[in-house]
C-alpha cells in the first residue's frame, strides 16, 4: 500500500472525516500550543539562534533615489574597530525584494539604484555596535539622475499589467450607457495611501555555510518558494539551501518573499567563512522591503429606483517599480460581491521610483472595499435606502461575471445577525444628529469579503512506536495559529489528545507547504495534514483488518468491530504517510469567498476632529472554524488593521525623491491599545465543501476587508463629512465640523 495520499479538489468534499472524529479537538477554542513558550520568551525567532564566531551585518542604503553606483568607499568604515568587511556584490545583491510565491530570484543588479535607501552594501563586524557604526561610515558614490516621484502627475502613463492569476481588466455590457440610464448613480474617486505591514519582528537573516551548503535562519511566510528565490539569487542548487523559520514575528505580506538582507548575509558569510546575522533596522523595513501601494480608485455605481445595481465599475491605479508585475488588485471583490449586468473592473500600474509594492494583508480587498463599500453607503443615502437593505438587494444569485454558482455564502446572514447584535435599527440616519457633549456619534456598516484560495501543499505525518504523532511540513506559523490548528486536525483524525501530537514547521527540510499568505494557509496545509492522517488511519485499519470507515480512534485507542486496542499495538516500528492537496476544478466551478459584515460606532470630537472607535460588531462566515479562539483573534487583528487603514496609517513619500518620510513607528501610526475598544466578533457556523476537505475557508484577511469603510461611513454619519482620501485624519474633517 502506498503511504501517500493526494487529493486534487476536483469535486466537493461533501463528507469530512473531521466530523467523524470523537477526540473533540477540532473547532475547539484551545489555547495555542506554542503559547507557553511565547509568553515565557522561549520561542526562538530567527535572530535568536546562538552560533560561535557569529559576525553582525548592518545594511548600507543608497543616499539617492535613482542612478548608478560608481563606488562604495569603505576606507573610513574599515578603519573602525572590529570591522571585518564591507560586502557588496552588485550582481547578486537584490535591488527589489521578492514577491510571494515566486520561485525565481527577485530583481538583482544593485549597480543601479531605483529607490531611496535601496540597500547596496553590508557592513560586517564582530559586534552589532561596530557594524552599525561601520555602515554609517560607508560612503556610497554614484551618479544620480532624475526619477519619477509624482503619482498624480503620471496617471496617464499607467500600463495595464499582463494577465496573471488575477485578471487585470474585465468588462461586460456597456457601463457608460448604463450609468446614463441609471436612476441613481455614484461616480467618485477614492484614494488610499501606501501602507507598511509593520510586523513587530524586523526582517532578519542569519546565514551559515557548511559542506552541504547554506542554512539561513530567516523570518519568512513561504519557506518553500523563499528557498527557491534565495538559491536562484545565489546561483545555487535548491538542494544546497536550507531555510529555517520556526517562529515568525508577524508577516502580513512583508515576509512572503526574500529581502536584501538574506542575500547579503549569505554572501558575507561565505566570504568571511563565519556565520553572519543581519537584522534590518525598523527604518530599513520601511525603506527597503515591500509596501502596500497607494491607490486611486474610481467607483461607478448605477442603480434603478429600487436600488438594484445595473452598472458597477471599479477602475484602479496603483504604483510600482519598473519591471515589477504586481498590481494592487483593488477590484478583486467587486467582481462577485454585487449585482450589475454592466461591469468594468480594471487595474493599471503607474511606474515610479518608490520602493517595491506587493502583497500586504488582503491585497485587493483591504483597499478596494475602502472605496466600494463607501460608494455603496453614498448610493444608499441617495436612494433613501438603509445601507444594509441596499446590500441585501444586490446580492447576486450567481457570479455575475463568471456565471457560476457560489460555494457556501452567508452574506445575508452576516448582515442580518450583525445588524441585530449591533442594534442597527436604532441608528439615526441623519448625519451629525447624535452628540454627547463634545463628541459626535456615528454608526457605519460595510460588507466583508475575501476570496478563498487553495494552494498545493504537502505534509508528512508519523506515528511513533510510543504512540505519538509527529507532523512535519515547511508551513509557517506567523501568529496565525498554524501549530495549534494542525495539531487539532491531526489529533482529531487519529484520536490523539493534544499532548501526544508534535507539529514541526518552518524548515525547508520538511515537505513543501503552501506557506502563510492569501488566507490559504490553514485550508491548504491543513488539508495536506488531513490527507496524511487519513492515510495513517487506513494503515491502522489495515493492521486491525477493518474497514477504515468503521474505525474510531480516541485517546490512543483504535475501536472497530467491537474490538478496542491501543494504537501502540498497531504501530509496530512506526507508520508514516505523506499528504498532498492540489487545487482542482472546484476553484473554477464555484466562486469561493469568506463573507462578513462590520458595524461600528465612532465618536468624532466636534472641536478637533479626532476620531475614536467606540463599539464594534462583526459577523463572519468562513466555512468550518478550526479553532474558535485563534480564528477570533485573527478577526480582531484584521479589524484593527482596518481601523488603522481608515484613521491613521499612511506612508508618506517625499515629492522630491520618493523616500518614505515617516519611516518609523513613531510617525507611521499603527493603532495602539488606546485606539481599540472591546470588539464583538461572531463566527457563524458554516461548511464549505468546495473549499477543501476540511470545509474551511481562510479567515486571516477577512477581518480587514471592509472594516475601514465601516469606520468611514460611521464618520460620515457622525459629521456629515464624506472623506474619500484615506486615512481620515482630523485635518480632513475640520472644515465640516460645527462651529465651536
Amino acid at each position: 500500500m502506498s503511504n501517500s495520499a493526494t487529493l486534487k479538489m476536483d469535486a466537493a468534499a461533501e463528507h469530512s472525516l473531521l466530523d467523524d472524529g470523537v477526540q473533540g479537538l477540532i473547532g475547539q477554542p484551545l489555547d495555542r500550543v506554542d503559547g507557553p513558550k511565547k509568553v515565557a520568551g522561549k520561542a526562538p525567532y530567527s535572530a535568536e539562534y546562538a552560533f560561535d564566531n557569529l559576525a553582525y551585518g548592518v545594511l548600507v542604503g543608497a543616499p539617492f533615489a535613482r542612478g548608478r553606483i560608481t563606488a562604495i568607499d569603505d576606507t573610513a568604515a574599515m578603519s573602525l574597530p572590529g570591522v571585518l568587511a564591507i560586502v557588496s556584490d552588485p550582481d547578486k545583491f537584490l535591488r527589489n525584494s521578492g514577491q510571494g510565491g515566486q520561485n525565481e530570484a527577485p530583481v538583482q543588479n544593485a549597480h543601479e539604484v531605483f529607490y531611496m535607501h535601496q540597500p547596496v552594501a553590508l557592513a560586517v563586524a564582530e559586534t552589532f555596535e561596530q557594524a552599525r557604526a561601520a555602515a554609517a561610515a560607508v560612503v556610497v558614490r554614484g551618479e544620480p539622475i532624475d526619477g519619477e516621484y509624482d503619482f498624480e502627475a503620471r496617471l496617464d502613463t499607467a500600463d495595464t499589467p499582463d494577465d496573471g492569476v488575477i485578471p487585470p481588466a474585465t468588462s461586460q455590457g456597456d457601463i457608460d450607457q448604463a450609468m446614463v440610464d441609471a436612476a441613481v448613480t455614484v461616480d467618485g474617486i477614492w484614494t488610499t495611501p501606501g501602507q507598511n505591514s509593520a510586523a513587530m519582528e524586523p526582517h532578519v537573516s542569519t546565514a551559515i555555510w557548511d559542506d552541504d551548503g547554506l542554512t539561513l535562519y530567516g523570518a519568512y511566510q513561504m519557506v518553500a518558494s523563499d528557498r527557491m528565490q534565495l538559491a536562484d539569487a545565489l546561483g545555487l542548487d535548491p538542494e544546497q539551501v536550507r531555510i529555517v523559520s520556526a517562529y515568525v514575528g508577524g508577516g502580513f505580506g512583508s515576509k512572503l518573499g526574500i529581502s536584501s538582507e538574506a542575500v547579503a548575509s549569505a554572501i558575507a558569510a561565505k566570504q568571511l567563512g563565519r556565520p553572519v546575522k543581519t537584522v534590518m533596522t525598523r527604518q530599513q523595513v520601511f525603506d527597503a522591503t515591500i509596501r502596500r501601494s497607494n491607490t486611486r480608485q474610481r467607483i461607478r455605481l448605477g442603480a434603478d429606483e429600487n436600488g438594484v445595481l445595473h452598472a458597477i465599475g471599479h477602475e484602479s491605479l496603483s504604483s510600482n517599480l519598473p519591471d515589477e508585475d504586481f498590481f494592487e488588485p483593488a477590484g478583486i471583490a467587486t467582481h462577485f460581491l454585487y449585482r450589475g449586468e454592466h461591469r468594468r473592473i480594471t487595474h493599471g500600474i503607474v511606474r515610479m521610483n518608490r520602493m517595491l509594492s506587493g502583497s500586504m494583508r488582503a491585497p485587493g480587498e483591504a483597499v478596494g472595499l475602502l472605496a466600494l463599500e463607501c460608494a455603496m453607503d453614498e448610493l444608499a443615502e441617495k436612494l433613501g435606502l438603509d445601507p444594509v437593505e441596499l446590500r441585501k438587494r444586490n446580492i447576486p444569485d450567481i457570479d455575475p461575471e463568471k456565471q457560476i454558482p457560489y460555494s457556501a455564502r452567508k452574506q445575508v446572514e452576516c448582515l442580518e445577525e450583525g445588524a441585530k447584535r449591533f442594534g442597527w435599527d436604532r441608528r439615526n440616519r441623519t448625519p451629525g444628529a447624535m452628540r454627547e457633549g463634545e463628541w459626535l456619534i456615528g454608526h457605519g456598516v460595510a460588507a466583508a469579503a475575501r476570496t478563498n484560495q487553495l494552494m498545493q501543499s504537502e505534509a508528512v505525518a508519523r506515528l511513533t512506536p510510543e504512540g505519538r504523532l509527529v507532523v512535519e511540513t515547511d508551513m509557517t506559523d506567523i501568529g496565525t495559529g498554524t501549530y495549534t490548528v494542525l495539531m487539532q486536525i491531526a489529533g482529531e483524525m487519529l484520536g490523539l489528545p493534544a499532548d501526544r501530537v508534535d507539529v514541526h514547521l518552518g524548515d525547508s527540510r520538511f515537505p513543501p507547504a503552501a506557506g502563510s499568505g492569501g488566507s490559504w494557509g490553514a485550508g491548504s496545509s491543513g488539508s495536506s495534514v488531513y490527507l496524511a492522517c487519513r492515510k495513517l488511519r487506513e494503515q491502522l485499519a489495515e493492521k486491525l483488518d477493518c474497514d477504515p470507515a468503521k474505525l474510531t480512534l480516541k485517546d490512543g485507542e483504535a475501536i472497530a468491530d467491537n474490538r478496542r486496542v491501543a494504537i501502540t499495538d498497531l504501530i509496530g516500528d512506526g507508520l508514516e504517510a505523506h499528504g498532498r492537496i492540489e487545487p482542482g476544478k472546484t476553484s473554477e466551478s464555484h466562486t469561493q469567498s469568506g463573507y462578513g459584515a462590520h458595524f461600528c460606532e465612532v465618536r468624532v470630537n466636534a472641536v478637533t476632529g479626532e476620531v475614536r472607535v467606540a463599539r464594534w460588531t462583526a459577523v463572519y462566515a468562513a466555512g468550518r472554524i478550526l479553532n474558535e479562539k485563534t480564528a477570533r483573534s485573527q478577526c480582531y487583528g484584521g479589524i484593527i488593521f482596518g481601523i488603522g487603514a481608515a484613521l491613521t496609517e499612511a506612508l508618506v513619500h517625499d515629492p522630491r525623491d520618493g523616500r518614505i518620510v515617516n519611516h518609523d513607528l513613531a510617525e507611521y501610526h499603527v493603532p495602539v491599545h488606546a485606539d481599540i475598544p472591546q470588539l464583538d466578533v461572531v463566527l457563524l457556523p458554516e461548511r464549505d465543501p468546495y473549499a477543501n476537505p476540511l470545509q474551511a475557508k481562510g479567515i486571516g484577511e477577512l477581518g480587514i476587508a471592509g472594516a475601514g469603510a465601516a469606520v468611514a461611513n460611521a464618520v460620515y454619519n457622525a459629521t456629515g463629512v464624506r472623506v474619500r482620501d484615506y486615512p481620515l485624519t482630523l485635518d480632513k474633517l475640520l472644515s465640516g465640523l460645527p462651529p465651536v
Binding site: T608, R656, N662, E667, H673, D675
Partner: protein
Amino acid sequence: MKLFDYARADSPEAAARDGALANVKFIAGGTNLLDLMKLQVETPEKLVDISRLALNEVEETEAGGLRIGALVPNADLAAHPKVTAGYPVLSRALLAGASGQLRNKASTGGNLLQRTRCYYFYDPASACNKRDPGSGCPAKEGFNRIHAILGTSDQCIATHPSDMAVAMRALDAVIVTLKPDGDKRRISIHDFYRLPGDTPDKETVLEPGELITHVELPAPPRGRQLYRKVRDRASYAFALVSVAGVIAVEDGKIASAALAFGGLGPMPWRNVDVEDALVGKVPGTAAFEAAADALLADAKGYGGNDFKIPLVRRTLIACLRDLTEGTA
C-alpha cells in the same frame, strides 16, 4: 552610533566641569539622546552619566512653590502629590506624553531638552539646518504636517515636541543650572529657548557644560488648570496641537490667564498678547476669539500644516470655555 568615552559623574560640579569640553553630552534618561545617537544625528565624543546624581527630589520652596530635581523621572513627577494637587496642568501634560516606559526613564531636565521630531532632522541622508547647519531645510517644501506655524525662520520650521515643557511654560517655571565654573544660574523658561533664526542648531541659552540641576515652580497659581493634547492616535503620539491653560475668573471677569501651546512653534509657545486679550474680559466667545486672533496674528502655514491654524483656534476656544465655564 559613534564610539564615545563614558564617565559617571560623582557630583553636579564635576559633571559641569566635564561637560564643558567639546562634544560632551550629559546622559540621564537617555531616551531621546540614544535614539538620536543610533542614527548619528547626535555624535558626542563623551557621555557624562549624571543619572546617579542626587537630583531626584521634589521639595517645597520657601515661596510655596516646588523645586524639582532635574533627574526626577516624568512618571514620578506626574504622580507626585504636590504636583497633582497644585499643578494638575503639569501632571496632565506629563501623562499625555510618550508611554509608561518612557515616562519611567525620561528625566525632567532631559524632557526640556528634547529635540524636534522633524522627519528630515531624523534622517541623516537628508539635508537639515538644525543637524547640519547650512545644508538646507527640506521640510519647507516637503512633508510638513507636524511642523511649526509660529516662530519659524527661513532656516527651520521644526517644532519642539515636549508636552511637559508646555505646561512648565504656562506655570512660569525657572530652570536652575550649574555652570562649569561653579556659578549657579536661574533662567526663566521664557528666556530658556531660542527661536531658530539663522542658527536652528542652537535651541536653548545653555552654555557648554551648563547643567540643569532643578526646575522651580512658583506657588500654585490660582484658578483652573487644564492641558489638552490633540494627536493622531489616542495615545503614544506627539502633539499636533496642545494647550496648557491656567485661568482665574473673579467677579465674572478673567482675572489672570496663562496659556502655552505645543505643536505650534520651535519652542513651547507663549504669547502675552493672547493673555492680554483675555484678562479683564467677561469669559465668552468674543474674548476667546480675540485671544485666538492674537495667537495666530503671525501664523504661517507651509501647506501640510495649514490645518493647525483652524485646529488650534478651535482647541483654544474649547479650552477657554472649559477653563471658565461655571465660574461667572
